[in-house]
């Protein structure tokens, strides 16, 4: 909440509803959203287009992966077919060109075996099996001559179909190979079979040489899904391939999607090699291939996101700043208007008071002289009854006249000086005058007002009426702050050569720290309906106009000290300032004019 309070602009809460000329929140919202719409709309639009194009590109890339797999499957299939066809054709040729008698000659068959190895490679052994299924002649590393194949499935199949290609199996030496068997075709009476074992190493090399993507895999499986060549992903020969498509012949050709054991998507392409038990498998990880595209997409999203955040932040800041300035300016203007109103009111009251005071002053002067005359006459009269009582009465009348004239002089003192005027002010007298207005309240409430003013303090050049107002406002606040029986201390002293400090300290309720910074703001009041919130603001303005400043220290519960610091000489900025010498208008009313 503290953070929120910190970033919340001043105008957000309607603190001074009386002063606010418009709804600043709405102004802020209009500014903010208009700016957001204007700046973000093109960005969002462009990002949308970009995203759309990107999606298209992405789809193209995916298709390209598919196409590449299709091509690999097609070419791989052709190569495997070719490899097998070559060897089958070679065997068929040997079968055609050589009669059973020739082939059964071990030497002749050995020569053919050597030629086959040299020409085609991959041949491990070669055997001739006669019509009864007995291996007549065998050239190869094992001793298989005379073996009976009559009851074996492959033998039956080769007799029926003329050709047989076996699954891959591990032989005696534990290396993978497969068998191609070809029936003699020329002479239908002479049924014999030429059987060769082929090393799968050549097949592996063939597959390895294909244009395989780095994360892809290519290998052969048989109809049971057993690996016929080693795979990078699924293990060696005769391991099981886990990603067989669901049953159905159609699925054995083409590309389908699957998942690896980590749940990542895979593309599995299958192509059955016709006439063999083999199916070519190509596996690809599209995610890996599309990674840079995904990264690009993430980058774009992050950049757009950051831009949006930055724009929002700038607009937020700008709107706050703008509306706040308008708000502050409006407040200030309203405050000035109020101040003018207040000053005018003060001036009217002042003029009225001056008029009344002046009118009262004349009869009072007459009463004063009359009672003086009465005293004079009593003084020269002889004794008569009640003479003492008469004298006592005249004394009371004189005292009362003095009181009335004190009041009229004070009123006149305040009423004067409406325009800023500079004169020599003796702070002691001034403070006495101000206290004359407030002293009665202090007396009633038993508040002691102590003054510490050095007698040799230099007079101050300032506007008397305004300085009176400053002191009156601060003393008024001090009186409001202290409880009955409280204490107010007024001290005056020089501050350096050029300034004089007047401090007014009370032991009242004090001002909380959060209010302290606002007390000079116009219309800030802690007195509720009783305060206008103008007093300290006007005070501040006057002191500033005088070229001084006000400092305030406060401790809630302990009290508040206002210190007014004023230059001894008025700054020459005001050309109207004119030094007028004259007697201080204290109530005794005597004085001289000095040149």
């Amino acid at each position: 909440m503290g953070f929120l309070k910190k970033i919340k602009p001043a105008f957000w809460d309607r603190r001074d509803p009386g002063l606010e000329l418009m709804n600043y929140r709405r102004l802020w919202a209009n500014t903010f959203w208009a700016a957001v719409a204007v700046t973000l709309a093109p960005l969002v639009f462009l990002a949308g287009i970009n995203f759309y194009q990107f999606e298209n590109q992405y789809e193209l890339q995916r298709n390209e992966i598919d196409n590449h797999m299709q091509r690999m499957l097609a070419t791989g299939k052709v190569q495997i077919s070719y490899f097998l066809d070559e060897r089958r054709a070679a065997l068929a040729y040997v079968n055609l060109e050589n009669a059973f008698g020739e082939l059964s000659n071990r030497r002749h068959l050995g020569a053919i075996f050597r030629h086959l190895r040299q020409s085609f490679g991959g041949f491990v052994d070669l055997g001739l099996i006669d019509a009864s299924g007995i291996q007549e002649t065998y050239i190869g590393p094992y001793n298989l001559a005379g073996r009976d194949y009559k009851d074996q499935d492959w033998y039956k199949e080769v007799l029926i179909r003329g050709i047989y290609i076996s699954d891959v199996f591990l032989g005696h030496r534990n290396f993978p190979h497969f068998v191609i068997a070809v029936r003699h075709e020329k002479d239908m009476d002479q049924t014999y079979v030429l059987r060769a074992t082929i090393d799968t190493g050549r097949l592996n090399e063939l597959l390895k040489a294909t244009d395989l993507q780095p994360t892809g895999d290519i290998f052969l499986i048989n109809q049971q899904g057993v690996l016929q060549t080693p795979s990078q992903l699924y293990g060696g020969v005769l391991s099981g391939f886990p990603l067989l498509p669901p049953k159905g012949a159609a699925q054995w050709n083409g590309i389908h999607e699957a998942e690896d054991r980590f749940g990542r998507p895979l593309l599995v392409g299958l192509a059955k090699v016709d006439g063999t038990p083999f199916t070519l498998v190509v596996v690809n990880q599209p995610q890996v291939l599309l990674k840079k595209w995904d990264l690009l997409r993430i980058n774009v999203i992050v950049m757009v996101g950051l831009s949006v955040l930055a724009i929002l932040a700038v607009i937020w800041w700008g709107s706050n700043n703008l509306v706040n300035r308008i708000y502050v300016t409006d407040l200030r203007r309203a405050a000035v208007l109020h101040e003018v109103e207040y000053t005018n009111k003060l001036a009217s009251i002042g003029r009225l008071a001056a008029g009344v005071a002046h009118e009262i002053n004349n009869p009072v002067a007459i009463i004063n002289e009359k009672v003086g005359l009465m005293e004079d006459l009593l003084g020269v009269s002889g004794e008569f009854s009640h003479k003492e009582k008469f004298l006592a009465q005249t004394k009371v009348i004189k005292d009362s006249v003095k009181r009335v004239s004190d009041i009229t002089h004070r009123l006149l003192g305040f009423a004067r000086h409406l325009p800023m005027k500079t004169e020599q002010i003796h702070l002691e007298n001034l403070i006495k005058e101000v206290l004359g207005f407030l002293g009665r309240e202090a007396q009633y409430r038993n508040i002691s007002v102590n003054q510490r003013i050095p007698p040799d303090i230099e007079p101050l050049e300032a506007d008397k009426g305004q300085l009176q107002q400053v002191l009156l406002n601060i003393l008024n606040n001090a009186l409001a702050a202290v409880g009955d029986g409280g204490e107010i201390n007024i001290a005056v002293g020089p501050l350096g050569d050029q300034q004089i400090a007047i401090s007014i300290a009370d032991n009242g309720v004090g001002i909380p720290a959060e209010d302290l910074k606002s007390i000079f703001e116009p219309f800030f009041s802690t007195k509720g309906d009783k305060g206008t919130g103008l007093g300290l603001s006007i005070t501040y303005g006057i002191v500033q106009k005088m070229g001084g400043h006000i400092e305030v220290e406060s401790e809630p519960g302990q009290g508040t000290t206002f210190t007014i610091i004023l230059p001894k000489r008025r700054p020459p900025a005001n050309p109207e300032a004119r030094t007028a010498s004259g007697g201080a208008a204290d109530a005794s009313g005597q004085g001289g004019i000095t040149a």
Binding site: I367, E369, H409, L412, G589, G591, G592, I593
Partner: protein, 123 residues
């Protein structure tokens, strides 16, 4: 020493005059500036005590004319209040003292007496 009192309030000047009489100070009084000037033309006065605000010929103008007519006469200006600009003006026109109403006769007399010494003025 002869004193002329000028104030539009007749009760004030007559009472003051009577009080000066009681103190054996020769004095005349007038209730307007014009009347006062007439007296000054005819008699010599050491002091003129004149009110600042009067109908007709006001105090400030009267001071000017008194000084013209009788430069040696010293003038005490009576004011309702010590408005600095008026006092300033009065000083320029030739007033020597001012006194704020209501007038304390002892203060008035002391102002006239201290003049002889030409010392610092009481403030």
């Amino acid at each position: 020493m002869k004193v002329l009192l000028i104030d539009d309030e007749k009760e004030l000047v007559t009472t003051l005059s009577e009080r000066l009489d009681l103190r054996h100070i020769a004095n005349d009084w007038a209730t307007s500036g014009e009347e006062g000037l007439e007296l000054i033309k005819r008699h010599a006065y050491d002091w003129v005590v004149i009110d600042l605000k009067m109908p007709g010929l006001g105090g400030l103008e009267a001071i000017q004319r008194i000084k013209k007519t009788s430069p040696s006469t010293r003038i005490i200006l009576l004011t309702g209040h010590s408005a600095a600009e008026d006092l300033d003006h009065a000083l320029e026109l030739g007033a020597d003292r001012y006194l704020v109403k209501p007038v304390d006769i002892d203060v008035l007399l002391s102002l006239m007496q201290t003049d002889k010494a030409q010392e610092e003025w009481p403030r």
